[in-house]
Symmetry: C2
Subunit: 257 residues, 2 copies
DNA sequence: CACGGCCTTTCACTCAGTGAAACCGGAACT
DNA sequence: AGTTCCGGTTTCACTGAGTGAAAGGCCGTG
């Protein structure tokens, strides 16, 4: 016990899981130990238990990877699978009509998590990943999720520095605040070259049974052939359809006037 | 320490996660403690840590659910997300052509796990679930995965009693063995009313770079309007397409003659 | 055959984890 | 307003699960 005296076993186990990222999905024991800030023997023992359970798998190369078992359990997350399952048919419809990228995301604290994505073969390549996180202030889905988020979340995002992804990214809190008001007024969000210079996205809210916004759906299209105003009704209709299948009478209730 | 003396903390934590099932995705602390066979105070403490990390979430109703964070980490499972991501476009193509259920599954020990599913709006309702497990001896994907599984896995399945789902389910080891040989010969599997009396599925293998079968794809259609022989080439083509995108020269190498 | 990288096991120590019991607070009776 | 039940949390003294330094495999490789 040197690094953090009194570190719980549970936190160590979770730190081991945290060591895996999209950029490094396969790690040797040494790498794992270093990332989790654990002595090697400790890592060895905990990892052995995780492998026995199926949370991790050891490949032929000796490296450890996240195991299917963990994915299985994770699939029980109601906001993950439940929503996904309900939304997928509608997302497919939207894809069949537009043949553009369709994305589904939920808010997790001050970030968003992509729940599902239909990547069109001929659509703009998007750099997002299902299961991946992203800031709320740039993407279409992010703007929708932020616009209908609790006031404290909005303030937290507006107070922190807004990361810039392109020369056009809105990084000024005042402009973002006005943008969010506009989203609530129109009921959809447009993110024009905010994340990459070739993409534009149009997003709409998805509401749960109590009327709160639980997710957002978006179309991501090439910026040059985009007509946000024409796309918005399509995305909004999809959002309404999914909301309805969640058992709600549609109508997002904003939290901030 | 009474129940199992010497039970590791890690195993307790994992037991808590195990308590969640598709049938009971939301549990009170007491239920959790009971299922994990832990005293309530212990469960309370471990659960608190899991919630802090995001593995679990506590709903408004006080019940605990699997959290998004766990789903996020689980999404890093290479056989989960990696395959899914690669296969989805092809699955969509197959869906657009047939408008039937398309399923993707991998083998996990002596069972299969559904990785992805496109549920057609007007297709037969299937009772399977993404992230769910199933026996290998009944479904189309199961037969494919079993036919190309290592010999010891096949023997293990053939040795155990084969569960019956319908009057037509093959439960006799000899017949199953012959069926598997037929799958290897033709390169696809047909499961006719083996799981439910109204559905039939046609499945084909997906091969990894080294030629081993890593997954299976299937179409599930209503039994009465099914023409397996006509569907097989479609499914096989989809399997080949996905195999190719996995970076392989197609050709499943069977393990058992 | 010595060296280094990588991982597992040994061993004596000790503090994180433990569970019985007490405590808390809300809901449901009386 | 008092009592009991129920679900959950906290206290407290005890103890064995977890620990890490060191030693021990087990490869490839120079």
């Amino acid at each position: 016990m040197d690094a953090q005296p009194g570190r719980s076993v549970t936190s160590k186990v979770l730190a081991l899981l945290d060591a895996f990222t999209p950029a490094s999905p396969a790690l040797t024991l040494s790498e794992l130990a270093r990332r989790a800030e654990l002595p090697l023997p400790t890592a060895s023992r905990r990892v052995a238990e995780l492998v026995a359970w199926g949370a991790l798998e050891r490949g032929d190369d000796g490296r450890y990877r996240i195991g299917l078992r963990l994915w299985e359990v994770g699939s029980l997350a109601p906001r993950g699978l439940g929503l996904r399952e309900l939304a997928l048919p509608t997302m497919e419809d939207l894809y069949e009509v537009t043949h553009e990228n369709v994305q589904l995301a939920v808010r997790q604290d001050v970030e968003l998590v992509f729940i599902e994505r239909i990547a069109g073969r001929h659509a703009v390549p998007v750099l997002t990943r299902v299961g991946g996180r992203f800031a709320l202030h740039a993407t279409g889905v992010g703007l929708v999720l932020l616009a209908y988020a609790p006031a404290e979340v909005q303030e937290q995002v507006l107070a922190a520095p807004l990361e810039r992804y392109t020369p056009l990214t809105i990084t000024e809190p005042g402009r973002l605040r006005r943008g969010l008001a506009e989203v609530r007024r129109t009921g959809y969000a447009v993110s024009d070259r905010q994340v990459t210079m070739d993409a534009l996205s149009v997003a709409a809210p998805i509401c749960g049974p109590e009327g709160s916004v639980v997710a957002a759906i978006s179309l991501v299209v090439a910026h040059h052939r985009a007509d946000p105003v024409a796309l918005a009704p399509l995305v909004q209709a999809a959002g309404r359809t999914i909301s309805r299948s969640l058992g709600t009478s549609y109508g997002p209730r904003g939290s901030v006037g």
